[in-house]
Amino acid sequence: MIDAATPLIPLAVVVPLLWAVLTAVRPQVRAAWLVVPGLLAWCTTAALLWSHVRAQGVTQYALGGWAEPLGIGLRADGLAATLTLVTAVIASACALHRLLSPPAEFADHAARWFWPLFFLLGAALDGVWLAADLFNMYVGLELLGLSAVGLVTVAGTTIALAAALRYLLAALLGSLAYLLGVALLYADYGTLALASLANGFTASTTTLVALALITAGLCLKTALFPLHGWLPPAHGAALPPVSALLSALVVKASFVMLLRIWLGPGVSLLVPAVAQGFGVLGAGAIAWGGWQALRHAELKMLVAHSTVAQLGYLFVAVPLLVDASAAARASAWDGVMLQVVAHALAKSAMFLASGALIAAVASYRVDDLAGVSRHMPLALFAFGLSAVSLMGLPPSGGFSAKWMLLQAALASGQWQWVFVLLGGGLLTAGYVFRVFRASFLQGAEDRFTPTPLGWDVVALALAASAILLGVMAVAPLEVLRIGAPPSVGLLLNGAP
């Protein structure tokens, strides 16, 4: 399938890689003249790719002209194209936050190395979204992990060092388990390409052990409860734009890989018991993450625990994706896709808004936010809008996502997930209202540090897009259904 537009697929990886090199030549703390053209090129590439996939459907790309399984293929389906676009948009927002930061933020020497690592992270994300090869996913995941760890250390504090180390140990263990699984699968099937792996995939002992290792590794990287321990410290200790990228996108990379492997070659082995197991862990994540967010004293740790909980929704959807009627499966697919995108937008907005609030009160504690409602209405409004989506209140992307999951659970008669979904919403409401309660208390007026208005605007734009996603979910959903796995996509793809 060679046509004029396909170079867009590799360009989605090449453009950020190119800017990683350019920004590393003479590392500077704030090279707007260099960074902004890079962001523009990246967003343009991603937008063109998205509209290409929207118009033409799933597009494959043979790297070096070598066909799979000898060579490595890239595959742009609706999910990959949408996530590439969302990555470019969120990364640009985080970059703008960074560029608009006051000079005090750049006092540290390590700050000069932010940009190359930032672009490497972006390239790794795009690489994982578009990957169609097990080993290529491994390399992409390692690039993602190392650049993410690097970005955490850029914060320059001792706490960030410890968090980065813990994150790195978890990431290394996770990718090694994954690699072991890939080694066993290669021995069993003689190929690494997902497409050719799907032919003749059977439940041999080797395959089962391989899938177990791959799943364990990727769940550790996705911070699925109870393997989530590394996430809150790392996401809490990083700089706000880095936390936003990590929570919004980086943890989703391993989830998307899980989805591609289990709903691709592994779908015949995703028996109800396994799928329900994923659901139970997801429910555990919602409960534990929500509970921790309710009781943590620091704002960023609250938001980080909220990520643990919100990732739970993705896994609660798994039993609905396989162990249900066709209509329910289709609804669950829409729900999980929207949850991925809506959480990415809302959580990045929330972290950027939290960064502004924390800078304004010069404290990490939720209780110190007293009075911030009058001083920082815009940042608090952005925080609130993103919270609307996380709680699943209408009209928002989060609402549509949870509504579709709820419908799938009702349609398949799996009442337990209905309670989990509703209870999760209540817990979310509980911890975000903690923040509001603290902010609307009366506080001393003179202790606020002024923060750039641009920070609020960037956070607000992201939060607004999370809301907008709920109002205009049809067009993104149509694209997200393109190339959906046959097990969930028959109904979707058959629909006009």
């Binding site: 992990g145 760890v149 980065a164 080694a183």
Partner: protein
Amino acid sequence: MSPALWYALVGALLVAVAFAAFAAHTHVVRRLLAFNVMGTGSFLILVGLAQHERGPDPVPQALVLTGIVVAVASTALALVVFRRWFAATGRVALPEDDTP
């Protein structure tokens, strides 16, 4: 039993022993050593198991080369971060693991 299969079995043993060490220790450098032994075991499985019946296969050998470079980079990065942490705090284990 071909030598290639032996490689895979020894690799499996190395992975298991190193994994136990990784879980048992809190000292970051010991955990990194365990990680490296685990990596070596995985590479032995990757090459050994694939070549067990059909003889030399350049694909897993190339994958292992890539894997080695990635493992070296990760280990080095971890050591750099660890030594900064150690220089700052004098601790060899991470805070949460430090309680006996």
